[in-house]
Amino acid sequence: MTEIDWSKPRLLAKNIRKNFDDRQVLKGVDLEVYPGQIVALIGSSGSGKSTMLRCLNLVEELSDGQIWLDGDEISRPGINEDEVRANVGLVFQSYNLFAHLSILENVKLALKVVQKKSDREATEIALGWLDRIGLADKANQFPDKLSGGQQQRTAIVRAVALNPKLLLLDEVTSALDPELSGEVLELIRDLKNAGTTIVMATHELGFAREVADWVIFLDQGVIAEEGEAEEFFSRPKTARAKEFLARVI
C-alpha cells in the first residue's frame, strides 16, 4: 500500500458555497485532500455531497469560494475548465456511459479527444483497463448489454484511464444490489492500493470505515464533523453525527 504524502495538499477547497436560486446547498465547506488519501463524504440525502463533488470537477459553477489543485487555483477566472475536468475524474451514481458507444469506445473517447492520444495508444490504454476489471472480452459490447456493476466499473475506468490527479466518486454503488456493489468496491480498493487520490460520497458506511482515511460528515450544507475514519465511526463527537450513525447503522 502506498503512503499518503502529507507535504502539500493535492486538493484544497476553501469556503465553497453553492446556491440554487434561493436555496443554499453548500454554506462554506473547506476541504483538504493529500496525495494517496481517501476521503469519504457522508451525510443524508440533500446534505450537499453530490453538489460538493460537482463543484470540485467544475461542472457546477461556484457561488463562492476557491479551489486549488496541486497548488494551482482552478477556480480562477479564465482557466481552461475542460483541461481541469480531465484532471479531476467524476463518476456518477447512474454510470452515464455513452449509450451509442461500445464500452471500449466509451473509455477511449476522452483519451483521444481530450488527451489527443492516437487511436492505437488509446485502444491500448483502454483495453489494459478493461482487462484489469475483467471486461476485456466484452470490449465491443454496448453498455445496455452489461450488468449495473459492469457498467459502473467501466464508468470508473473511463475516468481513471485519463490518469486524473483526483478521482471523485458520487454514490457509485447506490444503484446496485449488494453483490454488484461488491464488484465496484473491490475496484475502489484496488485503486486505493495503487495510490489513487479519491474523494467519495457514499452511503456504504461499512466500506467508508474500511477504506477511507478521513471522513467528512456533511449536514445541511456544512461540515458537521470530520475526523479519522475509525475515530469518527467508533466515537462520533457531535450529537448530529451520533444521531445519523444511529439511524443508518
Binding site: 475542460d82 452515464n96 455513452f98 479527444v113 481530450v114
Partner: protein, 284 residues
C-alpha cells in the same frame, strides 16, 4: 418443451387461445368484405357514376398519358433528392443554432428561432410563389434565367428545413442531460460533447419522424408545377387538356402513392424496431 410435458391445464389454455384467434381472423375478413361491398354499391349507385367513370378512369387515355407523366415524375425524383439533402444539412444547422448557449452567439440563435417561426407558419404555396417569382424579379446580374425546378427546390428547402429543424431540436433535447454532463466531466468541450455524444444519439432517435417528413416532401415536390416546371403533375395537366379527360391526374396520383408506400412501410418498421429496443431499455 415437448407436447407430452405440458399439463392438462396448459393444453386446455392453448386450445382455447387457438380457437379465439381463428374466430377473430374470420370476423376481420367478414367485416372488411362487408364494408367494401357496401362502399362499392354506394359509389356505383350515385347518379353521375357512369360519367365519372369515363372522365376519370379511361383506359385509353391512361395508356397515352403514361409516358409524359412518367417523364415528369423523373423531374420530381431529382428535385426530391436535392431537396432532401439540402433540407437535412440546413435543418441540422438551424437546430444546432437554436441550442447555442454562448451569449455572443445570441443573435444567431434568435435569427434561427425567427426563421423557424416564419417558415413553419408560411404556407408552402406562398413560399413557392415568393421564391419562384421574387428571385427572378430581382434580376441579379449574371444569374440568367433560373429553371423553375431549381427555384422550387429552394422553396421546398426553405419550408421543410423549418420543420425538420424542430425534429432535430426535439431529438437533441431528448438526450438526457446526464450524457452531456458525463462528457463535460471527462473534459470534452461543449462542441465536442454535442458532436460526439449528443448528436449521434439524437439523430438515431429522430429517424422515424424524419422519415415522416420525407414522405410529406415526396408528395409536396408535386407543387413545383405551380412555377411551371414540367413535372408529373404539370405533365398530367397538359395531357388532361389534350384529351379533355381527367384520367392523367389519377395516373400521377398513383405514381406518388407508389412512391410513398415503400418509405411509409420502412418508417413503420424502423419505428417498431426502435420501440422494441426502447422497451428493452436499449436507448438511454
Amino acid at each position: 418443451m415437448s407436447q407430452s410435458d405440458k399439463s392438462e391445464a396448459q393444453l386446455a389454455r392453448e386450445t382455447w387461445r387457438v380457437s379465439r384467434k381463428r374466430r377473430s381472423t374470420i370476423t376481420a375478413i367478414l367485416s372488411t368484405l362487408g364494408f367494401a361491398v357496401v362502399a362499392w354499391l354506394l359509389l356505383v349507385n350515385t347518379p353521375g357514376w357512369s360519367r365519372v367513370q369515363t372522365s376519370f378512369f379511361d383506359w385509353d387515355t391512361a395508356v397515352k398519358a403514361f409516358p409524359r407523366v412518367l417523364d415528369g415524375l423523373w423531374l420530381n425524383l431529382r428535385v426530391l433528392v436535392f431537396a432532401s439533402i439540402s433540407v437535412l444539412v440546413f435543418a441540422l444547422l438551424l437546430a444546432l443554432l437554436t441550442t447555442l448557449r454562448n451569449p455572443i452567439l445570441t443573435p444567431l440563435r434568435l435569427l434561427a428561432k425567427g426563421y423557424i417561426d416564419l417558415f413553419r407558419g408560411l404556407p408552402l404555396i406562398i413560399t413557392l410563389y415568393l421564391v419562384g417569382f421574387g428571385i427572378p424579379g430581382l434580376r441579379i446580374e449574371g444569374l440568367g434565367r433560373i429553371a423553375p425546378e431549381i427555384l422550387g427546390t429552394i422553396a421546398l428547402t426553405l419550408t421543410y428545413s423549418a420543420y425538420v429543424a424542430e425534429v432535430f431540436r426535439a431529438g437533441i433535447e431528448s438526450i438526457h442531460p446526464s450524457q452531456r454532463l458525463a462528457a463535460r466531466s471527462l473534459g470534452l468541450s461543449y462542441g465536442q460533447s454535442v458532436r460526439l455524444v449528443v448528436l449521434p444519439q439524437a439523430i438515431r432517435k429522430v429517424v422515424p419522424p424524419l422519415m415522416n417528413d420525407f414522405v410529406a416532401l415526396q408528395k409536396d415536390v408535386g407543387l413545383i408545377s405551380v412555377l411551371g416546371a414540367v413535372d408529373a403533375v404539370r405533365g398530367a395537366q397538359i395531357e388532361v387538356a389534350h384529351f379533355a379527360n381527367f384520367t392523367p391526374y389519377i395516373i400521377a396520383g398513383l405514381f406518388f402513392v407508389l412512391l410513398a408506400i415503400p418509405t411509409v412501410r420502412l418508417t413503420d418498421w424502423l419505428a417498431a424496431r426502435m420501440a422494441k429496443r426502447e422497451q428493452m431499455g436499449t436507448v438511454l
